[in-house]
């Protein structure tokens, strides 16, 4: 591991954005991930702007448990609600929670990691101590306990998930910053009399952006999984808000008579996570200078 943290961050910044994009599009997995995530993003936007074929909450008792058809692409559920619209709204909800959670974790985690690695001393001791404590809990269990303590709403779920992922961002940024502060151009900047804060933002932060970008993508996939697990266990956003996890929970007794009620949210959540994982892998390969020129 030490060779990655030692040389990669300095070299990563040298690649131009265009070349990185070209590499990403060149890798088959990165491209596939981009397409899947792009399609799901369109679905989220459709849900957000009310462009879905049906209201995801509207119940039509006369149309209970109808199989997929031209009118209802993914069929209907036990209350006659349109499964496609509910899946789309569920994806939008879990994307919102995952985005807010990961944004919070990225900002707090990266800043703490950079400050700890750059200043060392007391800030480092505090940040590392907190990181160790948070890492002592199994992730899902920590999210579960936090979610049970907080009031139930989509925002508190996002906060619970964010707290779980903050230490990951601290750990992936602190190491590279530790080695960056020993690199000549950072020392040179110090000797020209620039303030520590200026050096941190101008010379250190830009050098760890690639690491952070990859981590954001992978964390998004975990956040989606965590949110779905929480709502499956009944600790997600309260009903009737559509959520992929609670849809699968409700479908477990219907699966014999109406398999589409489980298949639709199940397949979509796997696609969502596969897409984010592929994108993360593709980004990691294209941002890693050791892979440059090999593909």
């Amino acid at each position: 591991m030490s060779d990655i943290t030692g040389s990669a961050p300095a070299a990563l910044a040298q690649g131009r954005a265009g070349e990185r994009l070209r590499l990403l599009l060149h890798s088959r997995s990165g491209m596939a991930g981009l397409v899947v995530v792009g399609l799901l993003a369109v679905l989220c936007l459709a849900a957000a702007f009310g462009l879905l074929p049906y209201d995801p909450l509207a119940q039509t008792p006369a149309l209970r448990l109808r199989p997929p058809s031209a009118a209802h692409w993914f069929g209907t559920d036990q209350f006659g609600r349109d499964v496609f619209s509910r899946v789309a709204a569920g994806v939008a909800n879990s994307a919102l929670i995952a985005l807010v959670a990961v944004a919070f974790a990225t900002i707090v985690g990266t800043l703490s990691g950079v400050v700890a690695g750059f200043y060392r001393g007391a800030p480092d001791a505090v940040v590392s101590g907190v990181t160790n404590v948070l890492f002592a809990f199994p992730p899902l269990l920590l999210a579960l306990s936090l979610a049970s303590v907080l009031d139930r709403s989509w925002f508190t779920i996002a906060v619970a998930i964010a707290i779980v992922y903050v230490p990951i961002f601290i750990r992936v940024t602190r190491g590279p910053v530790l080695s960056l502060r020993e690199i000549d151009y950072v020392k040179a900047a110090t000797s020209t009399g620039q303030s520590r804060a200026a050096i941190m933002f101008r010379h250190v932060l830009p050098n760890i952006t690639s690491i952070v970008i990859v981590q954001v993508t992978l964390s998004l996939s975990w956040a989606v999984l965590t949110e779905a697990s929480l709502s499956f266990l009944g600790l997600g956003a309260p009903p009737p808000a559509p959520s992929l996890g609670s849809m699968i929970y409700e479908a477990r007794t219907l699966v014999y008579i109406a398999p589409w009620t489980m298949a639709a949210p199940g397949i979509v959540i796997v696609l969502f996570v596969v897409g984010l994982n592929l994108l993360g892998d593709g980004l990691r390969d294209s941002l890693d200078p050791r892979n440059r020129g090999t593909k």
């Binding site: 101590g129 269990l141 996939s221 697990s229 009944g234 699968i248 996570v273 994982n277």
Partner: protein
């Protein structure tokens, strides 16, 4: 002073001390988290009836539970109780948390052992298969299985497996009351099969990826070429020289998966009705028995810290370079 310095300089002792510090932080965190919940033992015990208490009754109850003391005092008396083996009492089950955990912990440990064994049996051969010919169809197969393992949520796989198997071949051993390994081993093993398969599949994915990367990296080393040149057979080369040297990252990754395992146990134990420690937490949360949640979460974190410590120490045995440091 020299004694302190000697302890601080010893890598294993230093690691143990830092683990103890982390555990203290964990205790503070769990205590603060549970205190953040609106209400206390009184409202949790009496529910809405707590509103009918007169001020003097309330004060008496607060004194009884020690809630009138400063938070710091409450924390240390709680911590003192834990050290003397008093982890609280479940008023619903009418047993102490220690007794509850003595029942549930073996179930989760059994599940954990089976899951890790299955994960290693799936992950390592799959990783070696992928690494044996990079960018070939068999590599694509291994990588696809790995990606699915990372992406299929445990609750989905568990629910789908349960539904499909019980509908098609009427296989649903988890529909019966849970049998302990010592009572009815045959039924117990059947009941453990699907849950450990689900958890094992999830852990197999990162193990497979790590094995693939590590094997590819080790294979490029000069000493492998040397071993081949001096006539080491392909099988011995593959297992003794390549896998033996790739073992450090694989062990690390397996240790790291313990956290996933305990989190996943909550979901899987719930779906397959296994009375393990994960279910104990979830039931505690659902029934608002915070004494149970607090102590159980603390015990799980304790187990997690110890496993991480052991993984660290295990390196020193496997990797002579770390031992020498």
């Amino acid at each position: 002073m020299t004694a302190v310095r000697a302890i601080a300089a010893h890598p294993i002792l230093r690691r143990v001390l830092s683990a103890l510090g982390t555990l203290f932080g964990v205790a503070v965190f769990v205590f603060v988290m549970l205190r953040a919940i609106p209400g206390n033992q009184i409202t949790a015990g009496l529910g809405t009836e707590a509103a009918a208490l007169t001020p003097s009754q309330r004060a008496a109850l607060e004194a009884y539970y020690g809630l009138d003391k400063p938070l710091v005092v409450q924390f240390f008396s709680w911590l003192g109780n834990i050290f003397t083996g008093n982890l609280g009492f479940s008023s619903r089950a009418q047993v102490s948390v220690v007794d509850l955990t003595a029942q549930s912990l073996p179930v989760t440990l059994e599940l954990a052992v089976f899951s890790i064994v299955l994960a290693l049996l799936i992950g390592i051969p799959l990783g070696m298969l992928s690494a044996s010919k990079p960018d070939s169809p068999r590599d694509a197969f291994g990588q696809t299985v790995g990606l699915l393992g990372l992406s299929i949520p445990a609750f989905l796989l568990a629910t789908a497996l349960l539904a499909i198997l019980s509908a098609t071949i009427r296989f649903n051993p988890n529909g019966e009351a849970f049998a302990h390994l010592t009572e009815n081993p045959l039924l117990n093993l059947q009941q453990m099969l699907l849950p450990s398969l689900v958890l094992g599949f999830g852990i197999a994915a990162p193990i497979m990826r790590t094995t693939r990367t590590a094997v590819l990296e080790v294979r490029g080393n000069d000493f492998i070429r040397t071993a081949r040149a001096k006539g080491v057979g392909p099988r011995r080369l593959q297992f003794r020289h390549v896998l033996g040297n790739a073992l450090v990252p694989i062990v690390t990754m397996t240790g790291l998966q313990f956290g996933y395992l305990l989190g996943g146990a909550v979901v899987v134990e719930q779906i397959f009705s296994l009375p393990g420690i994960g279910r104990q937490v979830l039931l505690g949360i659902q029934q608002k028995e915070y004494a149970v949640v607090q102590s159980t979460v603390l015990l799980i974190a304790l187990a997690f810290v110890i496993v991480n410590l052991l993984t660290d120490l295990l390196y020193r045995i496997i990797d002579p370079r770390v031992r020498a440091e």
